[in-house]
């Protein structure tokens, strides 16, 4: 039998974007430390359904840390106290017996709450739509090996491209800035010859869209990098700033 713990959950409940939310307290007993955080919430929901109450609504899908759907603010940290993981990869072995665990949604003007712990992140899609791509149509492209790319650049582009679009960077930032998200995409494409051609336009368009959607400014606190489950580096933000300034000077 696995080791189990007893915990107290303080969970944000909110019926819809218009109503005021509040914390509800739920005690949970005999939770296996081998279970994941979301499995623990499954157990809570099973209990709530059994009691005839409405389950806690939260976003989740792949449960292996790659889809970016899960988005819980646990004990004051986006994706909880463990490092380099999404909420779905957080396990109960990280908590002590008798612990009180506070669970909130992402809090940002850019991500309005839909219900309970579920928020609306379509703003991120809109930022990508503003320019987060290389403008090529399907077909008629050159052979994949026709343009060699240095391994260093390819690897660095891959590191930037690892962003899962979860929004933890925004949730972690006191200004609710989306700079880490935007800079990761701008960097990935700026590092590759395929993306260079539109680099200036992309940087300007994505930053303008981010501002328009109500995300804040970057004041270099580094909180985004510290909380990012995929270790996206703030050096991306430096690169975005360079791309953005160069583009503006050219104007």
């Amino acid at each position: 039998m696995d080791k189990t713990i007893n915990i107290t959950l303080k969970i944000w409940r909110q019926k819809n974007p218009k109503t005021k939310g509040n914390f509800e307290t739920y005690p949970l007993k005999n939770i296996s430390i081998e279970s994941s955080f979301l499995e623990m919430l499954d157990i809570l929901n099973e209990q709530l359904i059994h009691e005839g109450k409405e389950p806690v609504v939260f976003d989740h899908d792949c449960r292996e840390g790659i889809c970016g759907m899960c988005s819980l603010y646990v004990n004051g940290h986006p994706h909880g106290p463990d490092e380099d993981v999404t909420t779905c990869q957080l396990h109960m072995r990280k908590f002590k017996d008798g612990a009180t665990i506070t669970v909130e949604p992402w809090r940002s003007a850019g991500f309005p709450v839909i219900r309970d712990l579920m928020v609306d992140r379509t703003a991120f899609d809109k930022i990508i739509q503003a320019g987060g791509y290389v403008s090529v149509n399907t077909g008629g492209v050159p052979d994949a090996n026709s343009i060699p790319i240095s391994k260093i650049n390819a690897d660095e582009a891959m590191d930037s491209a690892s962003c899962i679009g979860c929004g933890a960077c925004v949730a972690a930032c006191k200004n609710a800035s989306a700079m880490l998200f935007v800079s990761a995409k701008v960097s990935q494409l700026a590092l590759l010859p395929q993306g260079r051609i539109e680099a200036a336009h992309r940087a300007k368009a994505m930053v303008a869209k981010m501002d328009e959607l109500g995300f804040g400014n970057c004041t270099n606190t580094g909180a985004c990098e510290a909380e990012c489950p995929k270790n996206i580096s703030i050096s991306n933000i430096a690169r975005l700033n360079r791309e953005f300034l160069t583009a503006k000077i050219k104007d």
Partner: protein, 647 residues
Amino acid sequence: MTTINSKIPEGKLSEKWSEYKSHQKLVNPANKRRLDVIVVGTGLAGGAAAASLGELGFNVLNFCIQDSPRRAHSIAAQGGINAAKNYQNDGDSIYRLFYDTIKGGDYRAREANVYRLAEVSGNIIDQCVAQGVPFAREYGGLLDNRSFGGAQVSRTFYAKGQTGQQLLLGAYSALSRQVQNGTVKLYTRYEMLDIVLIDGRARGIIVRNLTTGKLERFAAHAVVIATGGYGNTFFLSTNAMGSNGSAAWQCYKKGAYFANPCFAQIHPTCIPVHGEFQSKLTLMSESLRNDGRIWVPKNKEDAEAIRAGKLKPTQIKEENRDYYLERRYPAFGNLVPRDVASRAAKERCDAGYGVGSTGLAVYLDFSDAIKRLGVKTVEARYGNLFQMYEKIVDENPYETPMMIYPAIHYTMGGIWVDYELQTSIPGLFAAGEANFSDHGANRLGASALMQGLADGYFVLPYTIQNYLADQIQVPRFSTSLPEFEAAEKAINDKIHKLMNIKGKRSVDNIHKQLGLIMWEFVGMGRNKEGLQTALKEIKEVKREFWSNVRIPGSGSDLNTEMEKALRLADFIEIGELMAYDALHREESCGGHFREEYQTEDGEALRDDRKFSYVACWKYTGDDKEPELLKEDLNYEYIKVQQRNYKS
């Protein structure tokens, strides 16, 4: 008697696709703007199709259940994507990829489709590189490759252990560009609940807006289903929690044939099950078998001591380890196809050599690779997978072997489609894992990404025009037509019925019961008696579900329990058809292993004389037996033989 017409073009295998494209009908640019296409799903197939159709100028409506198209479960594919580029000069060719895929699928796939897949595979890599997908590269700046199961060449392109993510983000960026250009309209957090037919053609869908809980209607000239597979019938699988078979199932109930439902892939390298509360199984990429060696103890006493926690795997000497894949399959070793590797693991565990606390696990060991290559190289190749393993299991795979066990991963079966990816309902197309087309009875690793993108970028944008060219005179349909009214009413009735059961058990609780039945009787080893038991027990689950499920909240508001209930209602019926199909197929092939039909050394024994066909099931009514239609498989370019991975 209905006959099956798969519309395979005449001519030589290698020329069929170019011949088709040369003679198919096209739609001129002015007419494209007036034609609406619904694409359900935003994964590799759906996202690529929506983007490509938008680029061509069609008016596309694209739906997904997640909050963003970028979250489709294609994102979780780890290892890579196959393409017959022969960049490694190791003897690869279109024919060889075609041959490996047909053989890997145990001679149950259609030659013409698979050849086309191999033919366009190279274009996919070109396309993705042009989009800025950061594939792994060599120091000279050219693309790197790795090997995958069932092949003797290195043709797999990869982006660390996140290839699916990068390819999906490529398709997502192309899609986002079309949204910006106004050719694609996105509907996120929408779930398709039914397909609407007018005069026998697919003309629209009914969806539930998951944020408001309200039903909405959408009309179009054609509908594309790209909603993935139905592996979650088993409750525990490597699929995402939301992955479901409902869109495909509604098509089946409206007359689309469902092909080879029993062909499900069990992936050999997943993190083993550990408790009742478990919600899903996590895959460890097949690419790990490039360098990891699979073994169990040679002596039963050692296995028992390990299970009791008295012995550690690192304490077992080399001579006391049984590298059973290398022993049984010297030619392919640890890189045998998935079905073979899964069954071999089950065989060892059933015989009492399994490890872990449950005995349902085998080791995947990197100590040799670390000795040979060094920690740094191993970390560069698999670092993110090792990290994922450590976070879940709390053990360091650099120091102690990983524990793995097979789990449901992918479904080769799906909606039947012809060469044009059109289902048996005119105007209804199916792409990606949702269709049955290319993998036969077993899919090779790194081929799902290839097929999804081939369908979405390079096949459907052509073939759908051959249909739409005849639709240019058809005006846009009103969604107030009686067909839409009736479909919406039927769903409302179903939701109302579910809300009023007010039983005692949660959806997940009943789903777990279904999953256990499926795993026990319709899983890795199947037999007649077990399948009959499964059919009986699934009927009981159905009765239990419709009389004892409890769904809190309201049916016409955001309600995640209602979403799950609607999916489970379909999973139960899908499970039933899977068992039914498995019972009828009295042979073993690929992922379908009937214990009664095996060779002396335990390999799958096909019966080509009786079962060399695609089983197409036609819906005949609730609780009525479906009708079986057969599409015969004729092999003109490949000699059908017993699969051999030994020599």
